[in-house]
Subunit: 254 residues, 2 copies
Amino acid sequence: MSTQSVVTAIRVLEAVSDNQPAGLSELSREVDVPKATVLRVLRTLGELGWVSQSEAQAGKWVLTNHAFAVASRGSSGSVIRDAAMGPLNALQLDTTETVHLAVPDRGYMLIIERLDTPHVLRAFLPLGSRLPMHASSTGMAYLSAADEAFVEEYLAGPLEALTPQTVVDPAQLRAMIVDTRARGYSINEQGLSTGITSIGVPLLGPGGVAAGSISISGPSSRIVPAKYQEYGEAAAGTAREISRALGAFSSKGY
Amino acid sequence: MSTQSVVTAIRVLEAVSDNQPAGLSELSREVDVPKATVLRVLRTLGELGWVSQSEAQAGKWVLTNHAFAVASRGSSGSVIRDAAMGPLNALQLDTTETVHLAVPDRGYMLIIERLDTPHVLRAFLPLGSRLPMHASSTGMAYLSAADEAFVEEYLAGPLEALTPQTVVDPAQLRAMIVDTRARGYSINEQGLSTGITSIGVPLLGPGGVAAGSISISGPSSRIVPAKYQEYGEAAAGTAREISRALGAFSSKGY
DNA sequence: CTTCTTCGGTTCACTGGATGAACCAACGGT
DNA sequence: ACCGTTGGTTCATCCAGTGAACCGAAGAAG
């Protein structure tokens, strides 16, 4: 609409992020903007320290760590992260499975922290991954604590199926949310990725509003139904601890 | 120089990141650009999902998690982070002190990961902090593994003293780098922050080039000289493990 | 209550910065 | 030698970005 050069710049930045060592023509195609413009933007972003030419392959562009610095300094995730790391670490050691910390990002759950299991067979989600809410345990956990309006708006949008097991029916999802509330934790059986099961619990921030969620994930062969309750309760305890640190239960909400 | 609207946009973005809930006038002053322009940029960045109005305080702008998503997906830090988390976790448990993972960012060390000590008295550096290389153990460790040209260039620049104990004399720093190489780990006694001592070790990437560093930090009352060797060797072992995972020692460098 | 200042946000005429088609030279495959 | 690709450059056109001046509202000071 307006400031379209800024739009181009940001889109180029995101394109670089998504295609890592990205070539000029490649980016030009991706963003659908002439090479000349893309190159000029890249140079500008370069001067600002956000991108640079790859040392390994000349002509290829990569994100610098500076982008990470700016982003991590700002995002609301950092305060959650600080409150969560300790308890999360303990949870990982208790369960010996991979645990994730996720916060909402435009209808998706963004993985901002991950502690791995020592097992060789493990769930693997790179940091920065964005998961559809209806297809992840973190997402369903978040929805179970979010306000009704948000949930309805989300369910009204298009719901993609990532695996044959992904639930995309709004009515069914609503029922699952109710179950999650009653149970205290959400369960996702291969709805995100075949062979992976995970258990999620919401985190509450000041005033008790949903702020994010945590999850325990692993191969469906290890995370079997018989363990759901144990893991669910462990995660719920951890979440309560984190939420308290975030000020969810303080008297005035301040 | 060119694409100055992009420059403004990025500067506004960084200003928002630094001043967190930032007001319009405040940002306008900070970036030295008329309010109208700043507002237009903020709206554009808003449409792109990078910033949004704070819910708590109307009119105040904050970074969204989306920025974090883009940045963390891209930066070279992520591959290091993945390789480092496991060993780092073990190091934290062994030493019971706070451990940091840092990567270079324009002459500074950028803290991209932190695992806290359970102790109440602890070193505290928020994620995303940028530390001068000469004033931090991570920085000196990195310099000890960086190539000579980089070191000289860094030492030629202005070196700020953060505490009375900060070493800013290039000759002395050069000597400390040599010591670090011989010893295998760097030592920073209150050079970054009064009362904090830390031990650093460099990480090597493919081809054996310096890629980042790790450190053990804590109050100078706990991290006493008698512990230097123990901690230094523990950290060096961890670093070797991480460097190996990064492919530092693989035959061909590929 | 009246001032005075600051806030977030809006308006609009002007112009210089952004645009993109057309252009290189270089590389790799056939 | 041919072809298609790459990263990168040039430059005339024109519209998007700029910024001074403006507005109403909210505090603070008197």
